[in-house]
């Protein structure tokens, strides 16, 4: 009954009290993407911790979780670049399998030393990624179709090489990638170095802003954030050290995460990726080599598929047809989307993707530890993915509304 409001106008609501200054400085859109992930991870951890007699947040389980699942977020940060362009790469699952197969063949059949087997696998995948990128960027074929073709071709090649069988990879140097640990002192040193680096870079950025005449956020917020992340890092490292140390695969993931975060956020190339993904025409008119950017991005994804394949072989000490495929592709895209990467391009960051990876890995690991039937794992992952997309859609709608004002 719309007319009623006209007949009996309600008193105008009192102006809400202006929010305090600290509240206004918080970036609402950033909160909308990261807070739900932190909250979901916290809830999941509390739930599993209570259901597994405290074994879930045990050093052993966290350590195994890192070894079992690090390759997924690693592949996801490779896929983030493609998603930032507003494109998709359907081939990454089988490309990872093809790399794993290449490494296995080079190591077990051709008896090549580990560095050559590893480099060979990564090289093959990078070249195949670049080849797909060429078709997509230079020949302007749709990425969906090109990578669907890649999906089928890589599946066929990997299955042909494996012939339905498993190849054992006994080389201890390759197994070490998936199963060894950093020495405890070294990991502690790395953690302290990382915290110092973070503080240094932050302070440097602030000085540059001041020099450029820009305003800085108050130093207290920066110090609190650095302190919190640093404390968390030290707790995790100490916890993992109480078992066998920080798993090498986790260190590899974090190292690649750091490098890609830097490339995406701090380099001209990274800004070009965001620009092309946001509006390709605007980017082209701004003088960005859009063809080159798109080409390189698919090469990067291929490279990451290669590294993920190496980690997979290291963990399983074998390559088999069930090791990677469509399930991996779906997990990786879920990780990216849960991490707040927009499938329409231009929005997302590496750090949130690592959180998305942590969330998916926590689910897999916790449900395993609870001995839950694997069929339910799919359902639960699906529900969480839908929730993540819902947040994405809501966030965008609010953003669009704000832009119109």
């Amino acid at each position: 009954m719309i007319g009623v409001t006209d007949a009996a106008p309600r008193p105008a609501p009192a102006d809400p009290a202006p929010p305090p200054a600290w509240w206004r400085r918080i970036d609402g859109s950033k909160l909308a993407t990261t807070v739900p992930i932190y909250a979901a991870i916290a809830l999941i951890w509390i739930f599993f911790q209570s259901q597994t007699a405290g074994r879930f947040i045990g050093a052993r389980n966290l350590s195994e979780m890192a070894q079992e699942y690090s390759y997924k977020p690693l592949l996801a940060i490779g896929v983030v670049f493609v998603l930032l362009l507003g494109e998709i790469d359907l081939s990454v699952g089988y490309l990872t399998l093809l790399c794993a197969t290449t490494v296995a063949v080079l190591s077990a059949f051709a008896h090549q030393p580990a560095p050559i087997a590893i480099a060979g696998g990564i090289f093959v995948c990078t070249v195949l990624g670049l080849a797909q990128g060429f078709l997509i960027s230079a020949l302007r074929m749709p990425a969906f179709v090109v990578t669907l073709g890649g999906f089928l071709i890589f599946e066929g090649l990997a299955y042909h090489i494996l012939s339905g069988a498993t190849i054992n990879v006994p080389d201890p140097a390759i197994a070490a990638i998936g199963t060894s640990y950093l020495p405890t002192l070294l990991s502690l040193a790395f953690a302290i170095l990382a915290i110092a680096g973070m503080a240094f870079l932050g302070l440097l950025g602030r000085r540059q802003r001041t020099a450029a005449g820009l305003q800085n956020a108050p130093i207290t917020g920066f110090a609190a954030r650095t302190g919190a992340i640093g404390a968390l890092l030290l707790i995790v490292v100490t916890l993992l050290d109480s078992y066998r140390g920080v798993p090498l695969s986790l260190a590899v993931l974090l190292a690649f995460g750091l490098v890609t975060w830097y490339v995406a956020a701090k380099t001209p190339f990274g800004r070009h990726v965001y620009a092309v993904g946001g509006n390709v025409e605007a980017a082209r008119r701004a003088g960005i080599n859009t063809v080159g950017v798109r080409w390189v991005v698919f090469g990067i994804t291929g490279f990451f598929a290669g590294v993920a394949g190496v980690m997979l072989v290291g963990y399983a000490q074998a390559a088999s047809t069930t090791a990677a495929g469509p399930d991996l592709l779906l997990d990786v895209i879920s990780i990216a989307v849960i991490g707040g990467v927009s499938l329409t391009g231009g929005r997302g960051n590496v750090w949130s993707v690592l959180l998305g990876g942590l969330l998916i890995a926590s689910l897999d690991s916790g449900l395993n530890l609870m001995s839950v039937d694997s069929n339910y794992v799919y359902v639960i992952k699906g529900v969480i993915l839908l929730l993540a997309i819902l947040l994405d859609v809501l966030g965008k709608r609010r953003g669009a509304g704000a832009a119109r004002v």
């Binding site: 597994t52 012939s163 339905g164 498993t166 074998a318 001995s371 039937d373």
Partner: protein, 354 residues
């Protein structure tokens, strides 16, 4: 002669539909009968090449003039149906079918029986459900599980077991599991064994098997004495999880299929046993059945299997437990794997007995 060109068969089929009977295949049909072998997935598993070669060799011995056409459905049941139709059109006398989809394959049986004259269909390795399929030849799936469990019973007095079964969508996985539980369940009830974990694994996924084993080792404080694993692929994942706890070789691990990777783990002592299915025996039994049909007789079968519609006359072939002790006299002697394949990449000491 193996006619493998699909183009050629399509031409033959097209010609036959048009009523042009004077194709070479149709002409020879009377004295040189054609037998069609429909494979489900020829490329992703190395074993089917053995099935093909052993089958053709044995059938040629029994019927020297026979003409065997082998088709690969590449995991597409609809493609297999088309291939069956082509074979029927070109005058095949007997069809052998490894169905991709055990239920949808009933359409092939119907088409073969509606053909004039009706063509008998032998289900090879996998049963065709809800159909009047004429015969079935397979390894005894229940015996596979029984032998895996029996190995544990023979080598472990008492202790904690976990079970990592195959994909629940695969009827064979359910049969393997049934056979194993026939042996183990009474002993779990009597308290000889504890079985705190018993789950199916989607897609027979070796990574999942590895993660599950790691979690259960954690849950049970590494106190696991035997792991009933349905096949070698998953056993590889289980062994990798045991290695991480330095328990490899100290826990009984079963397997199946006698794959190269599985046999290597048996040789290094990390996997205790695998179940070998002598494919030559399966292929030869199928060839004898085919020969009977070609001669207008009913093949000899030893039992029947229910497929949801009828009791299918069935030949069940025994399976063989392979351990380090008999690798040489079984899989290597049969030419199923070579010594070179097995010794490639494992320590020479593990290989010395071969």
């Amino acid at each position: 002669m193996i006619v493998t060109s699909p183009m050629f068969r399509r031409c033959v089929a097209a010609a036959a539909t048009l009523g042009i009977a004077a194709t070479p295949l149709a002409l020879n049909a009377a004295d040189n009968p054609t037998v069609g072998f429909l494979m489900a997935d020829y490329t992703t598993s190395a074993r089917w090449q053995f099935d093909r070669d052993f089958f053709i060799a044995e059938l040629k011995k029994l019927d020297p003039g026979v003409n065997v056409v082998v088709d690969d459905a590449k995991t597409d049941q609809t493609r297999q149906q088309t291939q069956a139709a082509s074979l029927l059109t070109s005058g095949a006398k007997v069809l052998l079918d490894v169905p991709v989809d055990s239920t949808q394959a009933a359409a092939i049986v119907r088409a073969a029986h509606d053909n004039s004259p009706a063509v008998p269909v032998i289900a090879y390795d996998r049963l065709i459900n809800n159909s009047d399929v004429d015969a079935y030849v397979t390894f005894d799936p229940v015996a596979v599980g029984r032998q895996q469990a029996q190995y544990i019973v023979d080598h472990l007095k008492t202790g904690t077991l976990i079970s990592i079964a195959g994909a629940e969508t695969d009827n064979n996985a359910i049969e393997f599991h049934r056979g194993a539980m026939e042996v183990l369940e009474p002993l779990v009830k009597s308290g000889r064994y504890k079985l705190p974990y018993d789950h199916y694994t989607p897609n027979w996924d070796s990574n999942a098997a590895q993660a599950e084993t790691a979690s259960e080792l954690n849950n049970l404080g590494n106190k696991i004495d035997g792991i009933l694993v349905a096949n070698d692929g998953m056993a590889g994942g289980v062994v990798a999880a045991l290695r991480a706890q330095h328990l490899d070789g100290k826990v009984l691990v079963t397997g199946q299929d006698a794959t190269v990777a599985g046999l290597q783990n048996v040789l290094t002592g990390e996997q205790s046993m695998t179940v070998y299915k002598p494919i030559r025996k399966l292929a030869e039994a199928a060839a004898r059945m085919t020969d009977a049909y070609l001669k207008g007789q009913k093949p000899k079968t030893d039992t029947t299997m229910k497929n949801g519609k009828i009791d299918v006359p069935t030949v069940l072939l025994p399976v063989v437990t392979v351990t380090k002790a008999n690798i040489k006299s079984t899989v290597v002697a049969d030419g199923f794997v070579t010594k070179e394949q097995l010794c490639n990449g494992i320590p020479a000491s593990a290989c010395s007995g071969l």
